[in-house]
Structure formats: C-alpha cells, structure tokens
Homo-oligomer: 226 residues x 2
Amino acid sequence: MTDTKAIVFDLYGTLYDVHSVVQQCDAAYPGRGIEISALWRQKQLEYTWLRSLMGQYIPFEQATHDALVYTCRQLRLDLDAATSATLCDAYLKLSPYPEVPAALQQLKAMGLPLAILSNGSAFSIDSVVRHSGLQDYFSHLLSVDRVKVFKPDPRVYTTACQALELAAHEILFISSNAWDAAGASHFGFQVCWVNRQHNTFDELGVKPSAVIGGLDELPALVGAAG
Amino acid sequence: MTDTKAIVFDLYGTLYDVHSVVQQCDAAYPGRGIEISALWRQKQLEYTWLRSLMGQYIPFEQATHDALVYTCRQLRLDLDAATSATLCDAYLKLSPYPEVPAALQQLKAMGLPLAILSNGSAFSIDSVVRHSGLQDYFSHLLSVDRVKVFKPDPRVYTTACQALELAAHEILFISSNAWDAAGASHFGFQVCWVNRQHNTFDELGVKPSAVIGGLDELPALVGAAG
C-alpha cells in the first residue's frame, strides 16, 4: 500500500451485510430466510451484470426488486406488493459489519479521505449510510447512476478518480466481492480484498494487492505503508 | 413465429447438455460430480459476463479452465494438470439432448437454414458438433471470437445478422439459457426459450416470443407459422 491518497469502499457486502435481510425474509417466509437471501443476492448481481452487457441499465433498486420477484417465483413462494415493499425496503436499512464503525474511526483519524463507490443509487447509498449513522466518515458517496452501467465496467471505477481528483494507483479500493476486487485491480487501483468467509478468490486474471479477514485489519495495513 | 427466414441455436445447454460432464467429474472425484458440474457451469458463465464487462476477453476454453480451477479450490479438491485436461476436454465432447438429432432433421427438411451462435471458440463449436455427428445440419457455426465479447452483448447477436444477411426480426433464436434468450429478445430476434427443467424465466425486462419444453416441439411451432 504505497502512494495511497484515499480509500474507496464498496458498500454491499463490504461495509454492510447484505444478508442482514435474512431476518425480514424469515419473518415473511418462516424457515426460508437464508435460502431466499442467498438466491436473491445471486440474482441481484447477475441482473446488474446482464443488464450492463445488454445495454439495458436500470437503477439498482429495480434490479433488487426484479431479483426478488424471480427468487420467489423460482422457490414457489407467493409475493404480494406489501411483502415486496417490506423486503426491498430492508435493503435500505442494512447493518454494517460489527467491526466497521471502529475501523472507519481509526482510518479517519489517520487523515485519509474515505469514500464509497457503489452499484446502489445515490438515494440507496445515502439511506443505508445515514440509517447506520456513519455518514460523517465519508467525503464522497459515489453511485454508478452517473455512468448508467454497473461494476465491474471500468467506467464505474473512473468516476472515483474523477471525483477524488486522483490517479488510479493513488486509490486503495476495498471490496469483499472478489469480482469487484478483480475489476478494480484490472482498472489500476490498489486493491484490498476483505475475505470474511474464507472464500476462494475468483480466477479472473489478477490478484488483489492485499487480503484481510475484516475491516479491523485495515488501519494497520494502511499505517504500515504510511 | 412470422417472417422466420433462419433458425439460430445456442449451443451450451440448448443443443448440448453441459452437465454431460458429470460422469467425468464423478470419475475424478467420486460422489462429487453433480456438485462440481453445477458450480463449474455457474462460474464459467459468471467469468464470461465479468470478463466482458471488464474489457478482458479471453477464449471460452480459458474461462472454462479458470472456472474449474476456482471450483476445485472452493470445494477443497486437488486438481492436477492431467485431471484438468481430462475434464476440460469433456467440454469438447458434450452430448446433444436426446431429442435434438430428430428435431434438426425435421427442421432441415422444412427448408430453413440452421445455424449455431455460441460463446465457444470456433474450435470448440466445431469439435462438439463433429463429435456428435450433427455438422451437416448447420449452414453456419458462429463464434463470439469474431467480436471478442460474450453474450448477451448485442455485438454477438449482430454477427448472426451479418453472416446470414438477415434482419434481426427474420431470425428465430433458440436458447435454454434465460439470460441469453432475454439478451436476444432485447436485440430484436424472435426468441424461443427451451425450458426443459420447468425453471422460471429471468426478470430482465422482456419475455420470449415462445416457450417449449424440448426441441421436439420446435418443428410444429415453426410449421404452424409457415
């Protein structure tokens, strides 16, 4: 981690736990929460990739909604409008991972600008960050809405360079999503992959600059190179 | 199905069963064949989408190989070079679905040109088709290699219009992959989705023109509109 002038975080799955919706899924469909959340997330991602490739961009909330509709149909579960609204609303109130607030506080104290670059719309990002009370840590909340294509299209990562007025190699990008970390590495960011679940990094022709088990390990990593 | 002047087929999962590699997977890793084949196929598709979005195209065989490496690492299975070669080679010798040869014969007799448009390289497509002895049914075997991006990027579907010298609406495109059928529909093809496993069509903003349960239903569908 040399030359780092700003830290840019992915939001979904990195700072905030997308599977914190399991509880609401379980309330709506008792005993099925984990299964619903897993397929919902998988399809949500697929729809962002496929929509981008087709040149048929839609806001992230729409992809989230469409993925929920698919999930319930595929699992043969009835989905009425009220349940759909409740579950999609849960994506606006995700919980940060437990170690995140303290890690952000330490990183902020080190004097580096912190930003978020997310597939979410500006409204979604703002909602999630404010709901968790973490808004004061970030200088920039950046949405793919500006370029109307999803990660890992390089146009998305470019928006962070433009907003922060930095070269790609001056940005340390943090993501738990291996495909996002790979896209950011190909783009030219320094990349730290957060591997909380002991997963295998994807075989996409590039490796992250660093791997950590949680955000609590990030201040030491950044400090060691400072 | 009006105005149809040619029928263009997807290959992997539509004419040929990608899970016919289960047997070879099971021989290499007893009892794990189904699990390996499912994750391998999922990752193979993801890598084609992600590589396309990143602007990091590789031939389909490389994506197939990379997905196998990921799969074995994630499932904590040792993968030596010989096993990797054997399993990847199985993708060059896929079995057609049982009803496919007779359906192609009937369609050919109806006088419409038949073609394949596939994510595979020209070598892979040719290998699979010749291994099954079905090469004489097709006037064109079209690979994404020409445009160096994978489906569902519209540039792929364009190659079929160019090769067949037809407008998009004059082509009937056949795929079992809902995301491929959706991409082809957005592009402007007439599309028939082959739903052998009673799956749910993806929520990607478009519906196929027709749905059939197997290729044996296709001659009647085409004939009825002729």
